[in-house]
């Protein structure tokens, strides 16, 4: 546990030692602004909530999160530091969790820095702040889901660009499986299959959380989803570290 904290700190400091963290945060904030005010019709809707802000998050994360996840393990493999890290007295789970949590913390910081939007909506109207808090939590959980996929993809290769592309592709599957387009295309299939596909989608679970419904099942979905992908990361690292 102590070593997990040390690795977490090193990784987080690593993001801020390079421009990566700043670029990520700035682009994230700019994109959030564009999506919310321009494309989301924040003012035109005339409603005091942050739906336009949150509803674009899955699509924003689709490209932003893989960018911070891609180097998690690929860079360690490329520079050979994985050999250093894995021969220090740390367990594999310390390393996997420490790295994941550092990336998750970075995405959390970016998310928290969107607070001016929250202030704006409170200034303009009288929103349900409980719903907004729930939506923030849901958004952060969803970011964790994207990151966990990214961790596993990054462990697969020593090339971070490949890791990025793989992560985007797989994340896209987990986002798109909840869209009307995909679900309509599956109309021929038994209802149980359609429900299963929809149930695996981030959109399904994020939608209900972002409406302020903090269902334990939705939270559990993300927790288990993250856990499973991190477990897969550990297995992949173990198998692949030889080459």
């Amino acid at each position: 546990m102590k070593n997990m904290g040390i690795i977490f700190k090193r990784e987080l400091a690593g993001y801020f030692a390079t421009p990566l963290a700043y670029v990520f945060i700035v682009i994230f904030l700019v994109m959030s602004g564009i999506f919310t005010f321009d494309m989301g019709g924040f003012y035109v809707r005339g409603q005091a909530d942050l739906m336009p802000f949150f509803s674009f998050h899955p699509w924003l994360y689709l490209f932003m999160i893989p960018a911070i996840a891609m180097g998690l393990w690929a860079d360690e493999r490329k520079s050979g530091t994985i050999e250093l890290l894995m021969t220090l007295p740390v367990t594999l789970s310390d390393a996997v969790l420490g790295k994941f949590l550092a990336a998750w913390a970075l995405s959390g910081v970016a998310l928290l820095l969107t607070f001016p939007i929250w202030i704006t909506v409170n200034y303009l109207g009288d929103p349900d702040n409980g719903v907004i808090v729930a939506a923030y939590l849901g958004s952060w959980l969803m970011a964790g889901g994207f990151l966990a996929i990214g961790s596993c993809m990054s462990a697969m290769t020593r090339n971070s660009v490949i890791a990025f592309i793989l992560t985007v592709a797989i994340c896209f599957v987990f986002v798109a499986s909840g869209t009307e387009i995909i679900l309509n295309a599956l109309r021929w299939a038994p209802q149980i299959l359609i429900d299963a596909v929809a149930a695996l989608s981030f959109l399904t679970h994020f939608d209900s959380i972002s409406k302020g419904v903090l269902d334990l099942r939705d939270i559990l979905f993300f927790v288990i989803f993250i856990g499973s992908w991190l477990f897969a990361s550990a297995i992949v690292i173990e198998i692949k570290k030889a080459n």
Binding site: R10, A17, T18, G80, E83, L84, T87, P89, K241, N243
Partner: protein
């Protein structure tokens, strides 16, 4: 003590290490030699717990790496091949990270970092990013992280690779200083390094041990042990001139220089002074006369090239050299 017993490692059907067994005791500086791809690095990666063995076992001070990896990793200081470190960190940040993972904090951590910085002379680059350092400094950073916890066992994969002669000298001195009451295992291609720092050398080829002994013992096993190198100034019939010296087994022309010959003694015999007497009393046209040097290299080449040429190899290689020894005696 490191005990390696019947260690085998295969990668997708390729056998990198083939039934390797040896032990290393405290106070030994073991030089691990072999051609590229012989399995040196793989063996080190298994001892340090980076790779798992396909079969066989490794124990370090009684802890098995397979069942108790953290205990073994705490005992070992390891410099991986190429001395990897995090390029975006400064030397100080990096050493602080390693010290923290090794369980040090507060004053103790500061003291240890200050000590290794002094030992490997990193003072001037402490606050530079590792990315910007020269190869020599990067290697020293790698050494610093390996010794920060005063490890009982130090495993260094090519510690002097890429260093200039002064830096090599420095690192060797450091290794000698560290060697007291601990185990040091280094892998290297540089055979002079083995004679300079190692108390024992193991040569592996194609994943098997082909020789194991002190550097002196291995030198003595070279067929050129005690041989004399002679540089003539003009054409001269050496064979005729050496007629009647029983201890001379063979005279080989050198493939490196014209008019240089190697006079090889019958195994176990000394010829230097006898031949020197003749040179002086009969006024041979000699420019240079000395014992053949680089015996370890000759020995290394003889055991590893045979091993590589004939695949399962070592037994056939050994037989071949026995035969030639017999011929020389007969």
């Amino acid at each position: 003590m490191i005990e390696i017993s019947h260690l085998t490692k295969t990668f997708d059907g390729f056998t990198a290490i083939d039934d390797l067994s040896f032990t290393v005791e405290e106070g030994e500086v073991l030089g691990f030699l072999g051609p590229n791809g012989a399995g040196k690095s793989t063996t080190m990666k298994i001892i340090t717990g980076f790779l798992g063995a396909s079969s066989g076992s490794v124990t370090v001070h009684g802890h098995d790496i397979a069942t108790d990896p953290l205990a073994v990793k705490s005992l070992i200081g390891y410099l991986p091949e190429g001395a990897p470190s995090y390029p975006d960190m400064t030397v100080m940040e990096f050493l602080e990270f390693i010290a923290a993972v090794r369980g040090f904090s507060g004053e103790e951590k500061k003291r240890r970092i200050a000590k290794v910085v002094r030992e490997v002379e990193l003072g001037e680059v402490c606050h530079k990013t590792i990315d910007t350092l020269s190869k020599g400094f990067k290697r020293r950073v790698g050494l610093a992280q390996a010794i920060i916890h005063d490890p009982k066992v130090l495993i260094l994969d090519e510690p002097t690779d890429g260093l200039d002669p002064n830096q090599k000298h420095q690192v060797r001195q450091l290794i000698r200083d560290l060697a007291r009451d601990r185990i040091v295992v280094i892998s290297t291609h540089i055979l002079e390094e083995v004679s300079a720092v190692c108390t024992r050398a193991i040569i592996i080829a194609a994943g098997r041990i082909v020789a194991d002994g002190t550097p002196k013992e291995l030198e003595a096993r070279s067929h050129l042990f005690g041989a004399v190198s002679i540089q003539l100034t003009q054409d001269f019939d050496l064979a005729a001139a050496l007629e009647g010296v029983e201890e001379v087994a063979d005279i080989e022309p050198s493939d490196e220089e014209r008019r240089r010959f190697i006079i090889i003694p019958v195994p176990g015999k000394q010829i230097f002074s006898k031949v020197l007497d003749r040179v002086q009393s009969e006024h041979w046209p000699v420019a240079e006369f000395h014992l053949v040097e680089g015996l370890l290299e000759h020995f290394f080449r003889s055991v590893t090239s045979q091993g590589a040429a004939s695949q399962p190899g070592t037994s056939r290689g050994a037989r071949a050299s026995r035969q030639s020894a017999n011929q020389q005696q007969g």
